[in-house]
């Protein structure tokens, strides 16, 4: 099975930085979710601040949590 199976990608805006590289993200759809930063973004020191537009990957089985996989240019 492909990697992207069972995950949907949605755009959102960071509203709050929380401990442990966790952020609260407001999705385009209006939903608020908790999102971790992907390992690749941490490795490359992509800094995230409230107000940043990001791409989040969300499992359809737990749509309240996600992974931030991309920060759009500011």
């Amino acid at each position: 099975m492909g990697r992207s199976d069972d995950f949907i990608q949605l755009k959102g805006t960071i509203t709050e930085a929380l401990p442990n590289a966790t952020f609260r993200v407001k999705l385009e759809t209006g939903h608020l979710i908790l999102a971790h930063v992907s390992g690749r973004m941490r490795k490359n020191f992509i800094r995230l601040l409230p107000g940043d537009k990001v791409l989040v990957e969300i499992s359809k089985y737990d749509p309240k949590k996600g992974r931030i996989i991309y920060r759009f240019s500011r």
Binding site: M1, G2, I8, Q9, I58
Partner: protein
């Protein structure tokens, strides 16, 4: 529980089925090289409203609850199996297999039907895939008789498809249909005979085999909807809404 419909309900479903089939037929005629799939969607949506019905798929909720299906028709080209989202950037080309899946609500009852159009020039293997998928649907419908078991339908479809060396997609199923788009039971397109509930007259089903030219495995793209074959080979999809009847099932989504 499988709902057995009254003749009144079936009459309403007949009307919903008639509208579904009519529009689907019209949209199928628009499938030509150079046409963006969004145009098929715009047409289907306009015609649905003209005929006093509601598009059944538009705003259908995703299992995650986060998003809704954004269009009125599903247009799935080649390796896309089902639930392809129409787009201005997706243009039909020669040799494409274009699957159209469409449904409407009329008077509170649903019609649901699908077909695949081959855009000429088609190679032999693709033409065979179309014919086999269509025939598999009719084999399934034939197996839907009062007294038969649900999985007799599944088995009829699978046996026919696999005898031609194609793959039957397992991740999606047919379904009961009536005053909601998806009712019990789920109708898998694979499995042994003689399992599941016994079929009765006036049960209404949407039977929909999805057939892949190669491997049956599929994955869902990151848009949350579009299912594609893992090996990238093309697929076809045919579907009718039917009523189980003594003798032969009645097809509700047939054009006169």
């Amino acid at each position: 529980m499988i709902i057995i419909k009254s003749e009144d309900e079936i009459e309403k479903m007949r009307e919903a089925g008639r509208i579904t089939a009519l529009i689907l037929q019209e949209v199928a005629r628009m499938v030509k090289p150079g046409v963006p799939t969004s145009r098929l969607n715009e047409y289907a949506e306009r015609r649905t409203r003209e005929l006093g019905a509601i598009p059944a798929f538009k705003n259908y909720p995703h299992p995650s609850g986060l998003i809704r299906y954004p269009a009125s028709i599903c247009v799935s080209i080649n390796e896309e199996v089902v639930h392809g989202i129409p787009s201005r950037n997706k243009v039909i080309r020669e040799g494409d297999l274009v699957s159209l899946d469409f449904g409407v609500i009329k008077d509170g009852y649903y019609g649901d039907s699908a077909l695949t159009v081959g855009v000429e020039p088609l190679d032999d293997r693709r033409r065979e895939l179309l014919n086999v998928t269509k025939e598999a649907l009719y084999r399934g419908i034939e197996a839907a008789k009062p007294g038969a078991r649900l999985s007799d339908i599944s088995n009829a479809v699978q046996t026919y498809v696999e005898s031609h060396g194609f793959g039957i997609v397992r991740d999606f199923t047919g379904h009961g249909i009536g005053s909601s788009l998806h009712e019990e039971p789920q109708i898998p397109n694979f499995g042994p005979k003689g399992r599941g509930p016994v079929l009765r007259e006036r049960m209404t089903f949407a039977i929909e085999p999805m057939v892949a030219m190669g491997d049956w495995r599929v994955m869902v793209k990151s848009d949350g909807w579009t299912a594609v074959t893992v090996d990238g080979l093309p697929s076809a999809h045919f579907e009718h809404t039917i009523v189980v009847r003594e003798g032969e099932a009645e097809i509700l989504t047939k054009v006169e």
